[in-house]
């Protein structure tokens, strides 16, 4: 099947999203080099270009990050060919160092920086408005409001870039980038360029004396850009002789058109927005009595018009915010508040159970988080289920002493008042007070599991530990007069399966460790029931934030979780930093050998390039060792036991360490045999409450597995305390 963007029929239509439209525009303009780092909603620009790379003799690459991609595109442009770099809005922050000074050096072949903003943060960490990056960097900016504009602007942006000798920013927003529309295709320009680099030009060397000269050159280019903005075909006037004029940009402008009777107003659609097309706006404003501005995110157009001394009806008058995205609903409400259109009918909200985002069934990240959560655990009792039957006490005394005697049990059934029943046992407190209280040093606590051990030789039965325990979990053995406490039966407590009400379960201790997070699928580990991830700032931040906490003196063990692609993108400098500056952080690299969240683009660990050619696989364990980390463990997260052991070993390791949790993204491999729940399931809920796989749900009597959703990873078999889950028989 040929790609939709490769069709050589000028004037014909194709259903394209904004990203594909940008790619088509670039191909029409004879782009030669394309580079990007995956990021929603910009990913499909490079994907579409890579797909047609052979056919149109384009070099396309997934670079390791956005500044690398920008520099690759800049180098190609310096050699005289046309180049495009694409990224999500926050990628431009990463690329900023290059972009800011590229404005000074200027470029040779046309260079387009395509950037997709994400109003309403559909999948981002902020909603910055990159029109202000244009102001900041002094690079011209085109703002697309539809896929058709995206195509037309992309093609035109190369021309503009070459006229001005400047990179041109082409801005899309999520609704444009991921919205699809009928788009009219243009002609392939087939421009011929010989790649050559002018070795003798001083404008590429930004030492101060050259840079200050180039700064002046940039000012001159901006004056020229202003003229082009005023003449641009992307600033479109529709004069309907109305007293009310509406100025807008982006998709918000089209929402306004769809909720209003367009003939009753005059319209100005701004597409070339930086430098601000003052003359166009002045002319339009002078013909109407009232000006209304409709623009998503910040009030860029509004502020510019105010600077021209025109009265504007803007965000505050319309009751619209600089936060979040526009919808036809809130735009209608805004215009209805001015009496310019009908109000919407009120829709009654429905009371429905939510379907929150979750890690996919079979996701190795969930398995790793489960192991991390379970590193230190205790026997927990669900008060709602406990009926005070005391069977746990009998189970424990029989297991430990081969007698049925509650006085010799390590778990105690407690009744408070008439109805409140529970069972208490050791909570494996961090820095356990019982250990500190013992005058004989008879109590010790395992660094790895938190389990308390009593040395019977040393214990004198003084009671001090019993006094120290706020849970009442320690008692004296009635015959030996020695302290007895739960040892969790080497991680397999015998009381749990014998509880007739399924009130007991092994529960991981939250809040006994710090887990910094990063950007990727695994950020979903912040959500219940996983609840592991405690931070998310920007690409690569987790490792260095963890280091900062350690240097501040926090007592808890600090884990920094980062995905393989994010590690290559921005994690490596942070890892080198903790190796050299010695921070006691355990960095967990979640290696699924792909950029999963954006739709499976290759990483340097995948062995394939964007153009599907073979590449040398860069092994993360080699990279970590090369960056100076001595303790590097590789685990399979589906093996919960081995993973837990590897995590425990880092608990008393004092220094920077790395655990690589390695499993391919299950969406890329064939599904395994689904699991099923056996009759003996007693609906204890551990698989749903502690593990939380979306393929498992609780019916009234037991857990059920939806075989169409199950990926057959089998981790739930390990999680189930009652061996009630098994491979489904055909």
């Amino acid at each position: 099947m040929t790609s939709k963007i490769a069709v050589n029929k000028p004037g014909s239509f194709a259903l394209l999203n904004g990203d594909e439209a940008v790619a088509r525009g670039a191909v029409e303009a004879t782009v030669k080099v394309a580079a990007s780092y995956p990021g929603t909603p910009a990913t499909e620009i490079l994907e579409a270009l890579a797909e047609v790379s052979k056919e149109f003799d384009i070099y396309a690459e997934w670079s390791t990050n956005e500044i690398v991609a920008t520099e690759v595109a800049a180098g190609a442009s310096m050699a005289g060919v046309r180049a495009i770099v694409s990224m999500k809005h926050v990628g431009l922050n990463v690329a900023a160092d290059a972009a800011m000074t590229l404005a000074y050096t200027g470029i040779e072949g046309g260079m387009v920086i395509a950037v997709c903003d994400d109003p309403a943060l559909h999948s981002s960490q902020n909603e910055q408005d990159n029109r202000y990056f244009a102001v900041h960097s002094m690079l011209p900016l085109l703002d697309a409001g539809s896929p058709q504009e995206a195509l037309d602007m992309a093609r035109e942006a190369f021309e503009l870039s070459e006229k001005l000798h400047l990179p041109v920013i082409l801005r899309l927003t999520t609704r444009v980038a991921h919205g699809k529309a009928r788009v009219k295709l243009g002609e392939f320009q087939k421009i011929k360029r010989k790649p050559e680099f002018d070795k003798n030009s001083s404008r590429w060397v930004m030492v101060p004396s050259n840079a200050i000269r180039q700064h002046r050159v940039l000012e001159g280019r901006l004056t020229e850009a202003k003229k082009l903005a005023n003449d641009s075909k992307f600033n479109v006037v529709e004069d309907n002789g109305s007293e009310i004029g509406i100025i807008g940009s982006g998709v918000g402008y089209y929402y306004a058109r769809s909720v209003l009777d367009t003939k009753k107003f005059s319209w100005l659609k701004l597409g070339f927005v930086y430098p601000f097309p003052e003359e166009v706006v002045k002319k339009f404003a002078s013909k109407v009595k009232k000006l209304i501005v409709i623009e998503e995110l910040r009030s860029y157009i509004e502020e510019n018009i105010q600077r021209l001394n025109f009265q504007v009806c803007g965000k505050s008058q319309l009751g619209l915010e600089e936060i979040g995205e526009f919808t036809p609903d809130n735009v209608r409400q805004a215009f209805a508040s001015l009496g310019l259109t009908a109000k919407a009918e009120k829709q009654e909200p429905l009371d429905l159970p939510p379907r929150p985002p979750a890690l996919c069934p079979g996701c190795p990240h969930r398995a790793f988080y489960y192991a991390l959560n379970m590193v230190s655990q205790f026997v927990n009792c669900d008060n709602e289920k406990c009926v005070g039957c005391d069977i746990c006490e009998y189970a424990c005394s029989f297991e430990k002493e081969k007698v049925f005697n509650p006085l010799k049990s390590r778990i105690r059934s407690v009744r408070i008042g008439q109805t409140f029943n529970t069972a208490v046992t050791c909570k494996a407190c961090k820095d356990a007070p019982c250990v500190a209280a013992c005058p004989e040093d008879a109590l010790t606590q395992s660094q790895e599991t938190g389990v308390i051990t009593v040395d019977e030789e040393k214990c004198k039965g003084c009671d001090w530990c019993i006094e120290a325990c706020e849970y009442g979990a320690i008692t004296l053995h009635p015959n030996k007069n020695k302290a007895i406490v739960c040892d969790m039966c080497q991680g397999d407590p015998k009381c749990i399966p014998l509880c007739p009400e399924s009130a007991l379960s092994l529960t991981g201790k939250s809040n006994d460790k710090i887990v910094t997070g990063d950007i990727g699928c695994y950020t979903l580990g912040v959500l219940p029931p996983v609840n592991t991830v405690q931070t998310c700032l920007c690409m690569g931040a987790g490792i260095s934030q963890a280091a900062g906490m350690v240097h501040a003196g926090v007592k808890d063990k600090v884990f920094a979780v980062i995905g393989d692609s994010t590690f290559f993108h921005a994690g490596m400098p942070g890892l080198l930093n903790i190796a050299y500056n010695k921070a006691n952080v355990c960095v967990v690299i979640m290696d699924n050998s792909i950029v999963a969240m954006t739709g499976h683009q290759p990483t340097p660990g995948s062995g394939k390039t964007a153009m599907c050619t073979d590449a040398k696989i860069i092994r993360i364990q080699d990279a970590a060792k090369g960056l100076g980390i001595e303790k590097v463990d590789v685990v399979d997260p589906y093996d919960i036991k081995a993973t837990t052991q590897a995590i425990r070993k880092t608990l008393d390791y004092n220094g920077p360490s790395v655990i690589i949790s390695q499993r391919p993204c299950p969406l890329l491999i064939e599904k395994g045999t689904p699991r099923e729940v056996l009759e003996k399931c007693n609906a204890c809920g551990v698989c749903v409450k502690a593990f939380g796989c979306p393929a498992i749900y609780l019916s009234s009597e037991r857990a059920e597995i939806d075989a169409t959703l199950c990926y057959g990873c089998g981790v739930c078999e390990t999680v189930c305390p009652f061996e009630a889950i098994r491979r489904k028989e055909k």
């Binding site: 259903l15 529309a181 009928r182 929402y255 769809s258 939510p354 985002p357 749903v688 749900y697």
Partner: protein, 195 residues
């Protein structure tokens, strides 16, 4: 002429692909088209909604609440969730598949299939489609979405020709799956025409 359709389901069910094929078919009949999707961060298992607007001229891709003409639901709970998008007395096509969300985490009482269907019936004309049942007859449960497309094509309010749907299916899918999907399309169509 304008017709606004909301497609809803759970990530991984093929909501996006199906709404694409519908738009491609509409373009073959000369309609202007715009569409958009709303989905969360998860690759699989979250709520997903796609809007598809066709007409002589379509200005923007999103549909206002209470203005959609037709709602096509791939899953019962998500169909109910998208119901506020539908106009009064609009039409619903619902695939009779219920994927239970994890109510233990949210602490919300789960809803039964009958309760959800009653919600739909209170507002709209409802066509229940046994997508998986029909797909199993064809020996491939992956064609459920094409069955729903067939059901959609049979609604009297759809101005797109049957042949255009078939052509759009044929041009979008790999050749070896085309015949199977055309059969699925036909069975889906009949499930509405015969009801």
């Amino acid at each position: 002429m304008k017709l606004d359709i909301v497609f809803s389901g759970v990530g991984g069910q093929g909501v996006v692909v199906l709404s694409d094929i519908y738009c491609e078919a509409a373009m073959l009949d000369g309609f202007d088209v715009a569409k958009a999707e709303v989905h969360g961060m998860a690759q699989r298992g979250g709520s997903i909604v796609a809007f598809a607007r066709i007409g002589d001229k379509v200005e923007s891709p999103l549909i206002e609440a209470g203005k959609a003409d037709v709602l096509v639901g791939f899953e019962i709970l998500e169909t109910a969730r998208a119901l506020p998008m539908l106009k009064k007395n609009g039409t619903v096509i619902v695939n009779m598949k219920y994927i239970q969300p994890n109510c233990m985490i949210s602490g919300v009482k789960p809803k039964k299939t009958e309760e959800l269907i009653a919600m739909l019936r209170a507002k709209a004309k409802v066509h229940e489609v046994d997508g998986i049942g029909i797909a199993e007859k064809l020996g491939n449960t992956l064609v459920v979405n094409t069955i729903l497309l067939g059901a959609l094509s049979a609604l009297p309010e759809i101005p797109v020709k049957k042949e255009s749907f078939q052509q759009a299916i044929a041009s979008r899918l790999k050749e070896k799956y085309v015949n199977l999907n055309l059969k699925a399309f036909q069975l889906g169509r009949e499930s509405v025409l015969m009801s």
